[in-house]
Symmetry: D2
Subunit: 458 residues, 4 copies
């Protein structure tokens, strides 16, 4: 019992089942490095304000470094008796330094210590996720450049709609992941506010210097209200939400590529090294990586849902329920990390089956809209042009014709004088050349975007 940080007022030991039920060391051991960094900063600050004297702070910092080394070497002894990583480290410190180790917790509580550790961890995870997002953008950029001249059917409602350049397609995802990076950057500002020094919930009568700690740990500012901080998990929710959006972006793309890997679409050649087989069906080659990326979306979104439900209806300030936040955060970060890596690898290794794509590219009337716009530019009111082209499509479909196979007389009945010019907007290649608007798949517009992103991503 003496090993607990709070035994004084208690009579008898904690029930064994309670020890097992309440421990967090099985997952919060991941915070050991952050806990040590924050403790060292706290210790140096205690020296600055005279609560540690002589080389006491140096002794503490050195002992903490040694503990970190011991943990990293795998020799550190963990025990659920000691509840959490913070108690483990403090206990190890006391074992090494005796009464001096007992001084370190002066002016702080476990609550603000945990919050600080988690913020440090989250800040670092934010940066790593951002790095992986940028790497994914680079893999998309490489694909965009590699296949810039490939033309894909674009879809709405999963029905063929208009042709798009492959580069345009890849750039669409670069945009999405850029928004993710932006959201993470916004989140980082809110993460990077120091909680340490708010103590249990009301602050402390010890004359601590929170700015010093913030400065040492790279926090941009210091939390202004102790009650707020000791109940605050907004930053965990916001970070996990940002991760959920990343996961949803990945999941939508995974769905798309799973479709494109079917016999029926046949757009993609995924290398064997990114597929697995079946234990019973010897011919199967399955896009498991994509399926798991899609499936893991559910996991990250559920992590967020869990956090929201966790904090629902909790009054101020700290409640032990909040201990449940960390596994959700860790799981979301881990899941998105491996998914981002898998996605980037897959994009680098996968190739379009250009022939298969090209073979059916003229299917599905991808030129109908451009024909309609051509008629509009020739003076036919939009809604009339729409109706007319719709009827031509039905006519063609019944006869298994393409629009470009219709005789000129048909077009002349729409508007006399169209002549051969109309064929200039029919067929996928003509359609692509016709696009004009900013943000469109027009080759010159796509080129402009490629240039922009090349600069940004290098």
């Amino acid at each position: 019992m003496a090993e607990k940080t709070w035994g004084g007022r208690f009579r008898g030991d904690t029930d064994d089942r309670v020890v097992a039920f309440t421990e967090s060391i099985s997952f919060d051991h991941r915070l050991y490095r952050e806990d040590i960094l924050a403790s060292q900063a706290h210790g140096r600050m205690l020296a600055e304000i005279g609560l540690l004297v002589g080389d006491e702070a140096e002794q503490i910092c050195a002992a903490l470094d040694a503990i970190a080394a011991e943990i990293e070497s795998g020799n550190f002894q963990f025990s659920s008796e000691l509840e959490d990583i913070h108690t483990h480290i403090e206990r190890a410190l006391i074992e090494r330094l005796g009464d001096l180790g007992r001084k370190l917790h002066t002016g702080r509580s476990r609550n603000d210590q945990v919050s600080t550790d988690v913020k440090l961890w989250a800040r670092s995870a934010l940066d790593q996720i951002t790095t992986r997002l940028v790497d994914l953008q680079k893999s998309l950029m490489a694909a965009a450049e590699r296949d810039r001249e490939v033309i894909l059917p674009g879809y709405t409602h999963m029905q063929r709609a208009q042709p798009v350049l492959a580069a345009h397609y890849f750039l669409a995802y670069i945009e999405k992941y850029q928004r993710d990076c932006d959201r993470l950057a916004d989140c980082r500002r809110r993460v990077n506010v120091l909680p340490l020094g708010t103590a249990a919930l009301a602050g402390t009568s010890i004359p601590i210097d929170r700015d010093s700690v913030a400065h040492q740990l790279g926090f941009e500012s210091v939390a202004a209200n102790s009650l707020d901080v000791s109940s605050d998990r907004d930053f965990v929710l916001e970070f996990v939400f940002d991760l959920a959006i990343v996961a949803l972006h990945l999941g939508g793309w995974a769905e798309e590529w799973i479709l494109w890997s079917t016999t029926e679409f046949g757009f993609l050649q995924i290398p064997d090294s990114f597929c697995t087989g079946s234990s019973i069906m010897p011919h199967k080659k399955n896009p498991d990586v994509l399926e798991l990326i899609r499936g893991k979306t559910a996991r990250v979104c559920a992590d967020l849902q869990r956090l929201m439900m966790l904090v629902k209806g909790l009054p101020l300030a700290y409640n032990r329920d909040l201990q449940e936040d960390k596994e959700a955060l860790f799981d979301a970060v881990d899941t998105v990390t491996v998914s981002l890596e898998a996605a980037a690898g897959l994009i680098r290794e996968t190739r379009f089956r250009r022939e298969a794509i090209a073979a059916r590219l003229e299917d599905g009337f991808l030129d109908a809209t451009t024909l309609m716009e051509f008629l509009v530019l020739e003076g036919v009111p939009l809604r009339t042009a729409h109706e007319t082209v719709g009827k031509l499509v039905r006519h063609c479909e019944e006869r298994r014709l393409r629009l470009a196979q219709l005789p000129v007389e048909v077009f002349e009945t729409i508007k006399p004088g169209l002549g051969q010019r109309v064929y200039g907007v029919l067929g996928v290649y003509n359609v692509l050349a016709a696009f004009k608007s900013y943000g469109s798949t027009a080759p010159h517009e796509v080129e402009r975007q490629l240039m922009k992103w090349k600069k940004i991503l290098s």
Copy 2:
């Protein structure tokens, strides 16, 4: 590569990142016992239909037993290279038996094998959860008997409403957990349908005998459509939903007892062994177990949410996304298991602070409703009686009086002739005695329910 169960059509090895990304051995090793049981039943059936001959089935069963023993002894070597528990066990079998081991997978796929293993595991987990629910009911029953004469304020809107016997209070939760048991029993019927033998998705040309396997493994029936089975995770969702309701019941009760443990309520004496303290505040004794039970509600509900999102939009039949089902199932079962145990223990150890409860029991006008009903039985229309008593309450509140402290003249103005009889329904003890309806907190009704449950739970 040869170690995979599906290497034939593949060229080159699986990418290392893909191996790490797609493995499930890190969590599905928990299914080892079920996998072995199902494999033994499958092997015996193969012998029955002549596909294993001589003592081949016995050899297989014996080798599988040896593998189980090796796993349980901790000497079995796990590797993410071997994907999942099924591959591990088959590989170990082949190492021991050579070609004979290679025969076992005849007429089954990993899909129906996984599904069978998970159903066996879920069936057993269902039974264990039910056992723990009954144990919790017993702890509630013990509390109901121990404190049968204690009177508690009953609340609606967290405002004092009417008095209730402590036994009535505990019986309310026994009812809730009984519904949970009932739901689990319904779920068990749907779990207990054998998938094995549906093979990959269309069945098999091997003349297997599925009834034999079902009989050996205790399944009540055999799934009738292979396509359905290979995509079906309904039973996982239903089980986890049932667990979510259990968790919600636990969480509402935990909230209640957290309130009752406050300085302000002061109803409960939770033993030190079920509380923890604070690292900074030496006077704190916190109801952490209750808080964690409440917090873990979020976890189980999120497990369900994750499963629902996971299967959303998946076409027939098996998709690899479904591999993500197991961790959610395991987590929900584990979480509810430990929460049930912690709750039962806590209820057994916690005592009411009877004096503190009694001291303020007459606060809050717990007799107002019975007074109103008394007036109704005396012939005052309900709505009039309601209005009248409401005004009396306001009158008393402003003067800090109780209803029983009002002079008889006040009551006589409501309806002449009430006389002293009115005092027979005022005050908490009189109120309790006045209850009559079935299902109410009337002492004889509560007694009746205690008798009923005593019989059921013994």
Copy 3:
């Protein structure tokens, strides 16, 4: 203020914003019929126990009928001042019957009244959903019979796996919806327990006869604990969960048919009357109904999530939060109802493009597994047969051959003596004929299932 059912102890009016914020009449008006039925039963019971005398109960029942008629005629005046449907109806009763109307609320509270109304509504909704599920099963049955001889590629991982009969495919969904019906039937038992008579939370001192009310309203039993009942929303959660599973089944199928409607798959001919077009792309014909069915899955699952989060952490007994349960329930029922209707209609009207399906049916090595099983039956160990066929597939794929196009010598190298017999399991038609296991797509097994379901559904 006098119009409220609870004005007595209150000074001054309710704040207007509060009136608007707390009202439920805007959605609970849907319960008017159930409220009237339950009130009539309650009134008759009050007469039975002598609290209503002479023809009072008849007067009340008649007046309630008249109010129902007024509501149905559209002439009833609703006002958020009167909070909810229960207050509206009681107020209208008092306007018609004066003091007699004021007697009806004797021995009940709004809490148990609301709970009873919602249970009556839910019971009826359960039955209607079940009817629609059966109708959907019938539409699937009709499709199964219509296209019983059509052969479809079966998929796992969205990759072609084995051939399945269309009837087998449709039967898979019949099985799923049957489980849904079973779950609803289980839920109905738990719904069909009478709450009325538990009063506010502790029962009542009025000598009511709850069995009489239960009998009148068709409840199978009477709730045994008043505290339990006044906090219980389990039945709402369970019903909405059951609906969520239905929605997920619909959503998976919708995804499948959206795929099958693409240019690339081209399996389905959805009639124009079930599609919509594009405002800009004149050629588009989109499977909007299927997309909305898929999208609405999210809605129903979120309704459940909302209910779980709503009750999280609520202590006994009634809390006003619970008012938020009804919109989620209504939305889930409404959404699943229209989705079921749309699905049944769509299945009835949609046709397979048999030629398109057949044209590519031999693509994707759908016979590889049966070839492997043939080898096993010829004595080749399973894993060896798997490996061998895997290599043949790769060989064929590189040369754009089918397995049936390989010369007999190739097969003889696997196992001498196979001869021409091997061709008897190659090709989709041979594969189908080879299936044997119960639950498989073997034509005779499918026939057996069709017979079974025909009997059940007629």
Copy 4:
């Protein structure tokens, strides 16, 4: 059929059930103003590039103004035949202007039109929510100033921890809502990017000027990739997430005030006008507004969950599923709006029961931590001081004493020489005076924060 915007290629009418199933006019009519503004901007741009000539744009703008007026007057005829608000308005335009009306849709699709309308609506909703958040902060500020000298017990684990100034308490929520405002401001930047002009999914061959439209409508930038835009709902998810956090903040506070309104806590006097009563219990006065605020948290979080599940697994670009986004967005905005208003009103009208709070303020050892810190400052190692004070608390609890009632000899045994000074940190008033750290409840620190926020909020 001619009324549809896409009838040309279709044969026969849409099925009536399909019309009812797919319509969105029942909820998207709320976008009428945004649709008209965006159409007017689009029309003016078409004039700028010469596709509308003479006064055509003016005619269109005037007609659209007239349609807006008609809608606002309640005379506009809505019909589910016309699908959505966009079709209604275009149809009304064509009825007024004939062929000219048919020109307006040139160079845009419904997809980018809807997206633009929703962004305009969301931008405006963001600003309105922010205004209400600031109003809530002002109500908290007023309360902080009104009760600045009131001392409250601060809680962790719902157990009494340390005293806090009421002003400190209110400032904690001001901080939380400020983070919400910051998140909304970040979200606004991402909302405020023009989608219009990306057309269906690939852009357009019409030489439109998207910058002109952006400028007219106040968008800060123009979306750079048409495929991205036509699938993008990130901004809806982010906005609803931000609202969910607001709701969670409100819900935690509501829980707290519900507790504080109990008989047991008795901290608050909520005015009758913000409470409601019971239909059966005449004495009840329930904090319904707070309960509903708490309950509605579930609604907003479920709206987010719904949106996440909705977009899960959707490939590029637009899919009809996305139509389901609007109701979730509207519901989240509406719910948070009324909750914010109700909360601000309630905070303005509610008063502390100062006497009741003060009467028990010395309960619960709120000075224990400060005593421990005093010992630390006197040279006792932290962990030793903690243990010692813990034992004193247990000693006091068993004897029903306060720490300040212990004789000086007791303290002298801890550390000789403490003398009377120790009493200078005992008792709630001394404790408050002892706090020193930035962000603490120290009166001068709270004053500093009040000054800061007074400036910001005025």
